[in-house]
């Protein structure tokens, strides 16, 4: 290319990029989304976009001040930049095209070939495949529009609110609309590649840029341009709701994730279209392709699989040592064997040596093993971590449901004097397994040793066991009976009390008893009597140890409200209680915060009539929401309200789910790294097999067949790694479950690591790993197809 043309080319590119910058800055100055700018900035930072905890990094873009609106700017400002920006963009591209098209000066004299018919492939070459562009662009656009329309059409109006009626739930509507959109994008890519019979990368880029981007950009902009929001937002409110499910107040994230998925579908469609069509017809048969690729990687060798598996199970060092020992022994044995053979007949020795040589591994075989191991480690880690997290979640759920009810019925009022009627009505609802009234309040609890803020709950000891596991959490030495009847509280003694003697009731002058420990003095006796009159209280183990009390000790419960009016306003109200029992639920939250007293005591203490609500236990925990809804209906709604356990602990479970998602993403990065290894391996295979590729092509394998062969090689590595990882992961989970890994009781509230294998998420981990490895081998496979037969045949 001559110098002026090169200059023209670079000028064109510069003008086009200035135009792009003008469009972006103009758009942002016009108020089209600081959030978007922040996203772009965090996208530049890298993975930050994926990790909600790091999303704060997104603020960098805005704080840089680059896109900040000047103070007092009107929303329309900067719009004028858009026009010149578009013009510059177009002019820049036009210049670039002109520079690229500009005819080159012939440097050489005309050759003998002038006048001969041009090689027909060259003669038919096109610089742009408009039909491919049309297929790609239309595919993407249709997928996006279709997604929005199908979703809005399917989803129940007002979904997400409790009284949603008709239509599908957001999750189902999303699944349907999303699958349809993915299929459309895939078909667009497939048809485009099939019609142009090539990958047509420039067309795909243009299609994504001009047809794919506008809708997500528009949707993202909608959130920061009030005018757009008012005209569009109402119609698209379901879509906005859907994406806000993903990230709290970051709906753009949802749009771009969907867009990325559709772009991926388009990409896959293009590849499949190319592969399928390059062999003439839509050919997805894989007879010889599978045969050849199996021979190339030969991943399913017992030795390799066993080796990788033992590394997964035992770690790297022990199998390495075992391998070293075995191969040393083998080598030594072989040497003597071959020498002996040689002494008998030199040719036998030669044969044995030859066999040994055949067993030697190529570097690619090592790489294959490494890739299988990489995928295996990723899958195994994913399965173990997700299972342990599920275990924690299940454990937490069990504990929460043990200490907490599955649902509560409350009233829009302080008390519920008619709780007995309410309970009768509730009792008739199908699915209710138990119920108990309660009063909940906040108090201070003080002992001689300490003071602590607590939640106090008035319970009915007779029915509380039908709702929570509290009775079974009671530690030996105390019980809930002490709440009903304070005289049943065991008095603190260092030795068991002697059986009272029949003939001498009352004071026991017994010389056998140690006066220092046990003999009650008259005042102590007095105390005991007063104590017997004190109501009982039950508290958690942590609270008891911080208050330094044991069963039989005295506690003061202080309520800031409910006392008489003193000179400085309401006086705190205080009452003594006696510890009737100590419980241990295993949930720090409860063991350190909750105290229980009898419902009647609570009524008196807080001046509540009846109860403040009724706690419910349902027969099927997963059906709690529907059952609570039925209870709500049976009580004729207002002034009653109901909540199920999910709603009561929404933040906790949301945090858990988020944590799991983040862990999943982080661990998927392991798999992506392993996929990088696969790319490297398959590229090495391609380089190593250049000659074979050329021969296969000479024998009549079309490009599509070559692609299929090398895709098959990546897929085998992925499947082998995935299956090994699955087996190893399950084995580890089984080990953790059966043998148990002890946790430090000082730190954790669970004695050992919990695991729960969830089939869906486990299978998903394997499927995702296999899919990623498959995607990773697309690029090397296409490279393999580009090997020219002559290049391979001349490489010798």
């Amino acid at each position: 290319m001559s110098a002026p043309q090169a200059r023209l080319q670079w000028t064109g590119a510069l003008i086009a990029s200035v135009g792009a910058a003008a469009i972006i800055i103009g758009g942002i100055r016009a108020g089209l989304g600081e959030a978007l700018a922040a996203d772009l900035a965090s996208l530049l930072v890298g993975w930050a976009q994926l990790l909600p905890p790091l999303v704060g990094a997104g603020a960098v873009g805005t704080t840089l001040g680059l896109f900040a609106k000047p103070l007092g700017a009107t929303p329309g400002e900067g719009l004028w930049l858009l026009g010149p920006g578009v013009v510059a963009w177009t002019v820049g591209w036009a210049l670039l095209a002109k520079a690229l098209q500009g005819d080159q000066k012939p440097v050489r004299p005309p050759s003998a070939a002038v006048g001969a018919p041009l090689y027909s492939k060259l003669a038919k070459a096109k610089d742009f495949y408009w039909d491919a562009l049309a297929a790609y662009g239309f595919g993407v656009l249709l997928a996006e529009v279709g997604f929005v329309l199908v979703y809005v059409a399917l989803v129940a109006p007002g979904a997400g609110k409790p009284n949603a009626a008709g239509g599908l739930s957001p999750v189902w509507a999303f699944s349907v609309a999303f699958s349809a959109a993915v299929v459309v994008a895939f078909i667009g890519g497939f048809l485009g590649a099939a019609s142009s019979k090539r990958l047509a990368t420039p067309e795909a880029t243009a299609a994504l840029l001009y047809f794919g981007l506008p809708i997500p950009v528009l949707l993202s902009a909608m959130h920061s341009v009030p005018a757009l929001m008012t005209s569009l937002g109402y119609r698209l409110k379901e879509v906005v709701y859907l994406s806000s499910l993903l990230g709290e107040n970051r709906p753009e994230l949802g749009y771009w994730l969907v867009f990325a998925a559709l772009a991926l579908a388009l990409f896959l469609g293009i590849n499949f279209g190319f592969v399928a069509n390059s062999s003439g017809k839509f050919d997805l048969r894989t007879s010889y392709e599978a045969f050849v690729s199996a021979r190339h990687v030969s991943v399913f060798r017992p030795r390799l699989l066993l080796g990788v598996f033992s590394v997964l199970i035992l770690g790297i060092v022990p199998p390495l040592i075992a391998f070293a020992i075995v191969s040393a022994a083998e080598a030594a044995a072989d040497r003597t064997r071959i020498r002996k053979l040689g002494l008998k007949d030199p040719l036998l020795a030669a044969e044995a040596l030859n066999e040994l040589k055949l067993k030697q591994q190529t570097p690619t075989a090592m790489m294959t093993a490494l890739s299988v191991g990489g995928v295996g480690v990723g899958v195994m880690a994913l399965i173990i971590v997700l299972s342990v997290m599920s275990g924690f979640e299940a454990d937490l759920q069990k504990k929460i449901l043990g200490t907490n009810a599955h649902g509560v019925v409350m009233k829009y009022s302080l008390d519920m004097p008619e709780y007995a009627d309410v309970m009768e009505k509730i009792g008739q609802v199908r699915g209710v397994a138990g119920q108990t009234p309660f009063i909940l309040n906040e108090v201070m609890v003080s002992s001689e040793g300490n003071i602590s803020g607590s939640m106090i709950k008035g319970i009915d000891p007779a029915t509380v066991g039908s709702v929570t596991d509290l009775p079974s959490y009671m530690l030996p030495g105390g019980s809930l009976d002490g709440l009903e009847d304070p005289t049943k509280i065991h008095v603190k003694r260092l030795s068991p009390p002697p059986a009272p003697k029949e003939d001498v009731p009352g004071v026991v002058p017994d010389i056998e008893r140690d006066p220092m420990i046990d003999t009650a003095t008259p005042e102590e006796d007095e105390d005991a009597k007063a104590a017997a009159a004190m109501p009982g209280i039950v508290l958690g183990r942590e609270l008891a140890s911080s208050l330094k009390v044991v069963v039989g000790d005295r506690l003061n419960v202080v309520s800031p409200l409910g006392g008489e009016l003193g000179p400085q306003g309401p006086m705190p109200k205080s009452r003594p209680f006696r510890v009737a029992g100590i419980f241990y639920s295993g949930m720090y939250e409860y063991d350190s915060k909750f105290v229980y007293i009898h419902l009647k005591e609570a009524q008196r203490f807080f001046g509540v009539k009846g109860a403040s609500g009724v706690e419910i236990k349902v027969a099927d925990v997963d059906d709690a929401r529907a059952i609570m809804r039925r209870i709500y209906d049976s009580l004729d709604g207002w002034p009653y309200r109901t909540k199920d356990w999910g709603e009561m602990n929404r933040n906790l479970f949301a945090a858990l789910r988020l944590e799991k998602l983040v862990m999943g993403i982080i661990l998927s990065i392991i798999i992506i790294v392993a996929a990088g290894l696969i790319v490297a391996t398959v590229i090495m295979l391609v380089l190593e097999k250049r000659k074979e590729i050329a021969v296969l092509k000479a024998l009549g394998v079309p490009d599509g067949g070559i692609v299929k062969i090398f895709l098959g090689e990546g897929l085998q590595i992925g499947i082998a790694g995935g299956v090994l990882g699955l087996v190893a992961g399950l084995a580890w989970c089984f080990f953790i479950e059966k043998v148990g890994i002890k946790l430090d009781p000082q730190v954790y509230y669970i004695p050992s690591l919990p695991v729960r294998i969830e089939p869906v998420q486990t299978v998903l981990a394997v499927v995702i790993a296999v899919l990623i490895t498959f995607l990773a081998s697309i690029y090397p496979a296409l490279k393999a197809a580009q090997v020219e037969p002559v290049d391979g045949l001349k490489s010798e």
Partner: protein, 226 residues
Amino acid sequence: MAAFLEVENVHKAYFLNGKRIDVLRGVSVTIEKGELVSLIGASGSGKSTFLHVVGTLDAPAAGSLRFQGTSVFDLSDAEVAAFRNRTIGFVFQSHYLLPEFTALENVAMPALISRLDKKSSLNRARELLERVGLSHRAEHRPGELSGGESQRVALARALMLKPDLLLADEPTGNLDPATGEGIHALLREVNKDLGITAVVVTHNVELARSLPRQLRLTDGQVVSAA
């Protein structure tokens, strides 16, 4: 009636360090069905290049190639692949067998590629191996075969799908005279018994003379050597 194979005005150049090497300068030649043609020429005169272009393994800069009337260069990539698979058999200077497969599987490969039944393909491959006198080497990998044996396996592979045209590029170049003569005998036999048209590149002038038609590549042109 259209000629069996018609090469017309084919130009091909290589570019090395900014210099152009004109290898084929308007090659035109017509070959009739059933002919057994030898092609001789100095080393580096472009014989392999010519054979690759005729075998659709390499793209020329200009020219046309008609096989029984159809313009081969106008076919799509997939059709060209099928054309190579069904119509042409190659034997190269070195054997280019696939190292992961046994001799038998190598011979059967063209049939597998055109998705014929595996079992009957292997049976036919066994017959062919017998024909080239290598039935006792069927289960050996190429690494375990000698040069002459490999070349015979390659010939059997080229014959697997009974091609119309056999292109052999110095099939005996790496072999001792006696073994080379064996290969040539096989080629002649194939041409006579199966009626396969064959173009054999060689620089063994004596062998070339023994074939019915002799061509010579000089100055980028194919001329009759007789």
